[in-house]
Symmetry: C2
Subunit: 415 residues, 2 copies
Amino acid sequence: MVESAARNLVCRNCGTPVPLRPQHACFECFGPLEVGYDTEALARVTRAEIEAGPHNIWRYAPLLPVGQDPATRVTLDPGMTPLVRADALADAIGLRAPLWVKDDSANPTHSFKDRVVSTALTAARGFGFTRFACASTGNLANSVAAHAARAGVPSMVFIPYDLEAGKVLTTAVYGGDVVAIEGSYDDVNRLCSELTETDEFEKTAFVNVNLRPFYAEGSKTLGYEVAEQLGWRLPAQVVIPMASGELLTKVDKAFAELVEIGLVPASDYRVFGAQSRGCNPIATALWNDSEDIVPVKPTGIAKSLNIGDPAAGRYALESVRRTGGWMEDADDEEIREGIQLLAATTGIFAETAGGVTVAVLRKLIASGRLDPDAETVLYSTGEGLKTLDAVEGRVGPTHRIKPSLRAAREAGLVE
Amino acid sequence: MVESAARNLVCRNCGTPVPLRPQHACFECFGPLEVGYDTEALARVTRAEIEAGPHNIWRYAPLLPVGQDPATRVTLDPGMTPLVRADALADAIGLRAPLWVKDDSANPTHSFKDRVVSTALTAARGFGFTRFACASTGNLANSVAAHAARAGVPSMVFIPYDLEAGKVLTTAVYGGDVVAIEGSYDDVNRLCSELTETDEFEKTAFVNVNLRPFYAEGSKTLGYEVAEQLGWRLPAQVVIPMASGELLTKVDKAFAELVEIGLVPASDYRVFGAQSRGCNPIATALWNDSEDIVPVKPTGIAKSLNIGDPAAGRYALESVRRTGGWMEDADDEEIREGIQLLAATTGIFAETAGGVTVAVLRKLIASGRLDPDAETVLYSTGEGLKTLDAVEGRVGPTHRIKPSLRAAREAGLVE
């Protein structure tokens, strides 16, 4: 077992270091903490070491803060999801260079959240927490409840009361507590922050609150995998859906790390962010050339992206500005069209967040913000089966007939 | 590129050989055809060759009739799904030996059907078919439509009109034709057989009708993978859901092949079959010590298993009798309990067929038919998100509160 190269937590705002512990905000400036590494230790990691690892996120354990010893992992072993070449989609939207879809619906609970839950809960068990929890827009609740069931640990997940039925049932079936909150995700998140301060929740790990630095690191694997699957190189452009904005920043961090430690050659890449029209505070700040992200009250069908007060928004802005990318949004109609276009051209049925990302990619090409002649990776982070409402009434049987050749003839299937 | 070791089609009934072509019934006796291999060619396949292959079913291409050349594959690259150790489930149902769940919801369209569709459509393209089709209880339709979308080939799938909404939407979203038939799956199947004889469908590959021998071979990969994942050995007992009965026979065939060609040591194994109470014609024949499978009119919630006239039923009986296994059935209430038990103990959310299989395993242990001290593999072939109705009303939020600490206190979450 190799030791973790993680050395401390570092404030993303003021740079103050903190020991590795379940803490998410800087005591100096209340800025968010993230994991810092011993770069020399990271630089000793080789491609061969990674390639010899398991076919899941833990092949990157040398680059993660936890899970170096397999026995310590609390995990469904997510990751190494398909990177699908999407020529027909590229043709449809006017991209002339290779287009790839990173399809994270292939994870055990069918969203990218399995990655971050695996790293957060592995950290949580190491810190001695005895209950697993989260504030969730749905996918995270699915994943925490499933991880807890497999690990045999009690769970309590907090969700907005108006989530898609599929996401609620798919969480509750694992048998843990499911607390529906009569409010928005942002209300849920605030309540969870308060609960972490109570005695009753002292031993409860909220993966995206008190374990947040360890949680966020799991998203780096979505950057590592794309680079490895492309043959250890970076794509020129990536388009990533944004809720808190964290995923986008961590893919950027992963790419930068891979270059820094010599696992991929240095090359320019541009990071693009996708939001829904009903919840676009990060994109709005970019368009307004502002540093200030003004919280919004989310609306619209892309519920998994409906975080009106995005915790990592300013860092997402920084990534997009630094790399020369851009952000766009998509309305509900465009989201539905995006889901159908992706399905019809690639065989991938994505949830609403995937529809957002496809619609935004199309707009970025149309506006010239994204280079139609540069290789592009689109991140699809969840499963269409969880948001069936988005296509209900739009698609369905094309014919309905009685079971006879005569009926087939009358319907025009045969002459 | 290695050539296929497949040499012909052979009648399972009378043994008559037929050249490799799109034909499913023997012209001599109307018995079903299956693929025959050059055993000497198979025997040259090595573990190392397989292990060096891709992390999907195509690592077993040397043991399949098609797909040796990657460029010929029509596929979503399914397979190498998790084999999950299920100690808590074993405890709950009284199994004292290791229990494993083969979780095939991890496939691209979240059921084992991606395996058989990949082999069938790869064969279909080789034979020059220009449209892809199937008769389906739902999962197969999802898979054919998705494969067709990715391959850029038109599709027309035939389903019973009363399928779960999730399975209909998840098929129609890919943009192909979806024909809802006002009848049972068996009616759908009969109509598709008739359609293959019409001029309009001459160039249409019905994966489970005229391509059936090539389709069925894809199921062997569920046997190969379990053996490889166990470290190249066979489990003592397997429990497998039955619709047509084909999957069970092909896992048996795969195990026998692995022994015959020397890839695993010979060891006794017993094959157990699981049906639902609403559609149990194969199990009934076993219980009655009969060779005759009397077709039934299926009822009950396990729609993916609702084939009342199972094409491979007599061969499933043969496998179970020859290996000393048994069959049981489960009613709707037991199915629902099985889904919840599997979810709560393993973090795997299965569709109704998985609930059937868990409930049947429990009964087999209770009755002593299955050895509680022998290692067992349970096949879970589909995804719970597709049959949410099965748990609707049984699970849901455990609490509903306003977003305040005070409300959390009143609900008893904190004091």
